[in-house]
């Protein structure tokens, strides 16, 4: 039985129940005590997100300062359970308007009860789509008081929508100005050895979309990926346009995308939900353009002194620039004194040495050189384990994968004009350089 949850608990960090909902009777009401005493108050907490106590399994995750615990007694579907929690939190966030934490739960508990009732029935997830639920769960969080909220939509209509044909979009939307915002957000994961070899490198990207379109528009998105381009040139029987094409390792789409058409014609076509959503996710491992090169040299001079020299080089176009660049250079715990110079930006000691650069232009180089004095500890022969150097950054208008949007076509029967906006940004995922 693919039951996703028998009960769901929201606990704060102390273990107090903020809200709970029991969906099935096969778990006891005091199961949460078991969780508190056997998991929260022991070292087990960080050890494994799925644990069994007695006959019940606890599937839990922490989101900001709240633990969300799912209790099941059967051989449940864990992936479904986790996904349910993540989706539910996303739903709550869209109701509260942003944050999901202990206070938000306390302030909106009636609303959460209502939602918990709707999104799951007897352990089976029902509808978690915010667009649809917002039609008939009319409370607007704490942002608007109850009494002043007029019921502008007749409820019977809304319930028809609950399970309508295009479950993610309601009919009769209308905007004065039809706009589409497309954001390509990539995060680069890098693991580089101390010798400068790339051990592992990949890019996970998301295409985020914000739609303000009237009616029921059909959208078609073209990217410069290899599969799509080949198919296109084949169909139009002309050679592929010159220019860089990239190969996506794997793609997943929002449920609105017509997957059958993607498989047969390699075009991304869809009827978008209203508002903001994640259209697709992709992963690339080949041909990644790393935005930064880091060249560290660390010398341990005897037992009390170290010399650190880190060179950071930006290798993207000279006209572009990176924002919020942070290079975290780890130093031993017994550091007594640090002395450093940086060529650009500033640096501070903050258990590790952090070099901060608000703006880092392309094709430039920045160097940090530091001297570190250590407290000599008695009888400590342990050599320092040298955690990797970590980097944070954001590079607007740059994609590490080289992905570009070639076109975005909007077609609606009324034939209105749309304005399309496209942005690119590359962020650091886990960007680690061993030293």
């Amino acid at each position: 039985m693919p039951v996703a949850a028998s009960a769901i608990y929201f606990l704060n960090l102390r273990g107090d129940v903020l809200i709970n909902r029991t969906y099935r009777d096969d778990v006891g009401g005091n199961m949460v005590d078991a969780f508190r005493t056997h998991i929260m108050q022991t070292k087990e907490l960080g050890n494994c997100p799925v644990r069994q106590i007695g006959g019940c399994s606890f599937v839990y995750m922490r989101i900001s300062n709240v633990y969300i615990v799912i209790v099941v007694s059967s051989n449940a579907n864990v992936a479904c359970g986790f996904k349910f929690v993540v989706e539910a939190v996303a739903l709550f966030k869209s109701y509260f308007g942003g944050a999901f934490d202990e206070d938000a739960i306390k302030n909106n508990f009636v609303l959460i009860y209502e939602l918990l009732d709707e999104i799951m029935d007897f352990g089976y997830p029902q509808n978690l789509s915010p667009e649809i639920l917002k039609l008939y769960i009319t409370q607007e969080g704490v942002r608007s008081p109850f009494s002043s909220k007029p019921k502008d939509k007749p409820v019977p209509n809304a319930t028809l929508q609950v399970t309508g044909a295009v479950g993610w979009r309601r009919e009769g939307l209308s905007y004065k100005k039809n706009e589409v915002f497309l954001d390509i957000v990539e995060s680069v994961n890098l693991l580089m050895s101390s010798k400068g070899n790339v051990l592992r490198c990949d890019v996970t990207g998301k295409v985020l979309m914000k739609c303000f379109l009237s009616g029921m528009p059909d959208l078609k998105l073209g990217l410069n990926d290899k599969l799509g381009l080949e198919k296109e040139s084949e169909m139009k029987s002309r050679p592929a346009k010159s220019g860089k094409t990239i190969e996506l390792d794997d793609v997943t789409f929002h449920q609105c995308v017509n997957l059958t058409r993607f498989n047969s014609e390699k075009t991304v076509s869809f009827v978008p939900p209203d508002g903001e959503f994640e259209l697709m996710k992709y992963r690339i491992t080949e041909g990644v353009n790393l935005p930064f090169r880091v060249l560290p040299t660390i010398k341990e001079l005897g037992r009390t002194r170290m010399e650190v020299n880190v060179k950071v080089k930006s290798v993207f176009g000279a006209k572009m620039f990176a924002l919020g660049v942070v290079v975290k250079i780890p130093v031993p715990k017994q550091t007594a004194k640090t002395n450093f110079q940086v060529t650009t930006g500033r640096a501070k000691y903050n258990p590790s040495i952090d070099c901060l650069d608000k703006k880092f232009p392309g094709q430039t180089e920045s160097t940090l050189s530091a001297e570190i004095e250590l407290i000599s500890t008695m009888g400590e022969k342990k050599s320092w384990t040298r955690p990797p150097i970590q980097m944070e950054f954001q590079v607007p208008m740059f994609t590490a994968s080289g992905l570009r949007v070639r076109f975005l076509k909007v077609w609606e029967k009324s034939g209105y004009n749309t304005v399309e906006w496209v942005r690119y940004i590359t962020k650091a995922g886990s960007y680690e350089i061993r030293c």
């Binding site: 778990v27 494994c48 509808n127 990949d202 997957l259 996710k281």
Partner: protein, 859 residues
């Protein structure tokens, strides 16, 4: 009976008892109850909110039940919802008061607003008061016929809830039949999905005592129905012409992602009629692998894997196909989600390591990942290491050995060791391991020592390199018993190569009293003996002290071993040497820790908790053996019933031994001294020593210690009180099948074959008492069968259940017979399962096997 509801919940000490507040609320509610003044709803809302918030933080507000019900007469939907919530929470504890609510709930079920109808119906079904079920039937029946789909979805789940309250009422009202027709004809996808969920649950619970339900359950898996569901949700193909029961679904709609999981789970159980059928379904579902919801992807993966189990080539292709979606899921989402996916990937990696061999970089750990993710990744790296990627993987693992997280550092060293034991080219790895010893961290040294010991047992040729480094380690720096035992074993084994071995041992023996671990003391005794045979003058004194201390030891095992050594030495020093320190024999393979059946069983339960726990579901969901309130600290501790115990033995063993690679070995050599070599490196006799381990020591020493082998085994039989003469002599039938005496099969090939071949024969034999007696040393059976050209590939188990895997090869033809043999020594029965390349001769082989087995234990 389910436990009491939330009303009895643990009140946190920091929260007020709230008694006076509740009384306040009560009077305020009473005032509002009859009021029809404008704005009364707003003040009611505030009060209701207060009640609910008290309820949430655990204050018992059940005393205002009556007032809440009185206030429920309102048209305000939010108020209603709060009221329903309250009623649902407390009805169970107050069955009498709940009767009050029935009235207004029933009225609401007829409200003109479908929203209210639905909500009221849901609350009505959630009251969970058995004596109120009669009131449920009417509203449920009309709910199922409601023209609004929202009400129908709720009514369908309501039927399932009713079934759990009172199964007979639900069946008598013929709700399942109604659900079935709804499932086939309703236009709303969510209604259909809920029908499916409800029917699956009801019928599988009913199936145990009703044949009809059994049939219905089967019918859910019929071809038309499966296609009905699958086509329905892939309607976007736009050409679904499928007809069922005369109704044509032209306007079929897509199920939501959760319902898709449900349907995919159903499709897994479907048995396709032919290969076209399989490909049809896979084509239909292929695009599901691109779905953003990980649960849908995993469910699809399961369908693909199960459908193609019988088609080896396609099965391989499926692995290739699902690899990249799974890897994407791992790298996106929260660590908890990637953990769930990684656990499944782990299962697949272990099943088909070669497919993932080139993707090893995906399993490199990131610095900030939680340790549970890292641990899984390390295991996967170990599993996929092969000739082409070992160097990179080991290099990477060596990086982790310096990790701040000690547990991960240990795991990664173990992983390096495991890879070393798997591979033929260990040259580079040995160097790495020896470098670990130079890191001078206690835990690194400890783990490495254990591994070096295992490595030396398998590859004695490396002794020279290892010993020179190990010799430099000061025993004072090693605290962990396992590591200490390993070091002592090496000191004893290689005493002739380490100049100061006797002196280190002497030092250790002098501190006998401070040594808390019995394991270490046992090893100390054996090592002192071995050292004595090689360098007698230097060790004699130390050995004397050790034996004296050992005999005086309070630990039974240590005492017995010391006494035994003493007596053997007294009898004859040369015999003692043959017993304790025979020529070294390399161990060719360490036994696999988890049986392939357990693994297959987990694989069948893909996409469930079994995969996460790495054990089949019957172990952790068996409610008869563990009530919901029985908390055990040990995750691994399970109650075992006699009828399943034979299956569980390997699993337990897995738990106990997963950190210790020392286990029974398969032998290819007929050297009699081999078993005693194992005995000396044996770490088994811990606290839980039983008589059989003692016997084992005895039996091992038996043949060598006394000149007449048979005599000793007679003594041994007498010890168990079994008269030899009374045993009936079995009449051996002439073997019809000639077996190849020198057959060879490596364990991996065996595993693969075992998985692929069907069981061609399964039989039960009784084993003669002598055989059972001789079985206290499982090795003896292995040797006995070998003399009949049936070779053992793996063995395990503890008294009374022993398990062996044998293989044999037909003379002059490369046809293998694989046999699993489970011998229960208390019932004297042997169960065998034979899988053969050539099915027709499996009976003949079984006869040979039986003949061989019947002679076991006979002199």
């Amino acid at each position: 009976m389910p436990p009491p509801a939330a009303s009895s919940r643990y009140p946190s000490p920091s929260q007020p008892s709230g008694k006076s507040e509740v009384t306040d609320l009560k009077s305020q509610l009473r005032q509002l109850a009859g009021s029809r003044a404008p704005g009364v709803d707003d003040s009611k809302r505030d009060l209701f909110k207060k009640v609910i918030s008290y309820m949430t933080i655990g204050i018992d507000v059940s005393s205002v039940f009556g007032e809440m019900v009185m206030c429920s007469a309102t048209s305000d939907i939010v108020l209603k919802k709060m009221c329903y919530l309250y009623v649902g929470n407390y009805a169970k504890g107050n069955p009498d008061l709940s009767l009050l609510t029935i009235n207004f709930l029933q009225r609401d079920c007829k409200d003109e607003d479908p929203m209210i109808r639905g909500l009221a119906l849901r609350s009505l079904c959630s009251l969970r008061v058995p004596n109120l079920v009669e009131y449920l039937l009417g509203p449920l029946g009309s709910g199922l016929k409601d023209n609004n789909s929202y009400v129908r979805t709720i009514a369908v789940t309501g039927v399932l809830k009713l079934y759990h309250i009172s199964a007979s009422t639900c069946i008598d009202a013929e709700f399942p039949a109604t659900l079935k027709s709804l499932m086939l004809h309703d236009s709303d996808a969510q209604v259909v999905a809920n029908c499916l969920a409800a029917l699956q649950e009801i019928w599988s619970l009913e199936a145990s005592h009703s044949e009809e339900a059994c049939r219905e359950k089967e019918s859910l898996l019929s071809k038309p129905l499966i296609y009905y569901f699958l086509n329905r949700y892939s309607y976007l193909k736009g050409r679904s012409k499928f007809q069922y029961g005369g109704v044509c679904f032209c306007r079929i709609k897509e199920f939501n992602e959760w319902a898709q999981c449900l349907i995919l789970e159903l499709a897994v159980k479907y048995v396709p009629s032919d290969s076209n059928d399989i490909f049809d379904i896979m084509n239909l579902l292929e695009d599901r692998l691109q779905h953003a919801n990980g649960a849908v992807v995993l469910a699809t993966v399961k369908v693909f894997l199960q459908l193609t189990l019988s088609m080896t080539d396609v099965h391989q292709q499926v692995y290739e196909r699902i690899k990249s979606p799974l890897l994407t899921l791992v790298s996106s989402g929260s660590p908890e989600q990637s953990y769930a996916i990684l656990s499944h990937l782990h299962l697949l990696v272990v099943r088909a390591p070669f497919i993932f061999a080139s993707d090893y970089k995906h399993f490199y750990c990131q610095y900030n990942e939680p340790s549970y993710v890292k641990k899984l990744k390390l295991e996967m790296l170990t599993a996929i290491a092969n000739e082409s990627n070992t160097y990179e993987i080991v290099t990477e693992l060596c990086e982790y050995a310096a990790n701040v997280d000690i547990e991960i550092a240990r795991e990664s060293i173990r992983a390096v060791g495991k890879i070393a034991l798997q591979q033929y080219d260990v040259n580079a790895i040995v160097d790495r391991l020896l470098q670990f010893l130079e890191m001078e961290k206690d835990y690194v040294t400890a783990e490495t020592l254990v591994l070096v010991k295992d490595l030396l047992r398998k590859h004695p040729q490396w002794s020279h390199d290892c010993i020179s480094v190990v010799g430099g380690i000061s025993s004072k720096n090693i605290q962990e018993p396992k590591a200490k035992a390993a070091l002592i074993w090496m000191l004893g084994e290689y005493a002739q190569d380490m100049s100061d071995a006797p002196y280190i041992l002497e030092n250790l023996i002098e501190n006998w009293e401070e040594e808390h671990s019995a394991e270490v003391r046992l090893h100390l005794l054996t090592a002192a003996m071995k050292c004595f045979f090689k360098r007698a003058p230097e060790t004699q004194k130390a050995l004397g002290i050790a034996l004296a201390a050992g005999i005086a030891d309070f630990h039974q095992d240590v005492h017995d071993r010391a006494l035994f050594y003493y007596r053997v030495l007294q009898y004859d020093v040369h015999v003692a040497e043959r017993v304790v320190s025979p020529p070294q024999q390399a161990v060719s393979a360490f036994a696999d820790t988890q049986s392939s059946e357990i693994k297959d069983r987990i694989f069948d339960e893909f996409n469930s908790l079994s995969v996460i726990y790495q054990k089949p579901s019957y172990i952790f969901t068996d409610k008869e053996h563990r009530g919901p309130f029985e908390f055990s600290d040990e995750l691994g501790s399970t109650s075992i019933t006699p009828e399943v115990s034979s299956d569980i033995v390997p699993a337990q063993q897995f738990e106990a031994n997963d950190k210790d690679l020392l286990l029974s070995t398969d032998e290819k050599d007929d050297n009699k001294g081999l078993s005693s070599n194992n005995g000396s490196a044996y770490t088994a006799p811990y606290e839980s020593s039983n008589i059989s381990s003692q016997m084992q020591e005895l039996a091992i020493s038996g043949p060598a210690a006394s000149a007449t082998t048979t005599q000793s085994s007679f003594d041994f039989d007498d010890l168990l009180g079994l008269g030899l003469s009374t045993a009936p002599a079995p009449t051996p039938s002439p073997p019809l099948l000639k077996l190849n005496a020198r057959a060879a099969l490596d364990p991996r090939a065996f595993q693969q074959k075992w998985r692929q071949l069907p069981i061609s024969l399964s039989q039960e034999y009784s084993v003669n008492p002598q055989g059972i007696a001789a079985l206290t040393v499982p090795q003896s059976l292995i040797k006995h069968m070998q003399s009949h050209s049936i070779h053992c590939i793996a063995s395990g188990g503890q008294s009374p259940n022993f398990k062996f895997f044998f293989f044999a090869q037909k003379e002059a033809e490369p046809l293998d017979y694989l046999t699993e043999c489970i011998i229960n020594s208390s019932s004297a029965k042997a169960q065998i399962k034979v899988k053969a390349d050539e099915q027709s001769t499996s009976q003949a082989f079984a006869t040979v096997f039986e003949t061989a087995l019947s002679k076991f234990g006979m002199p």
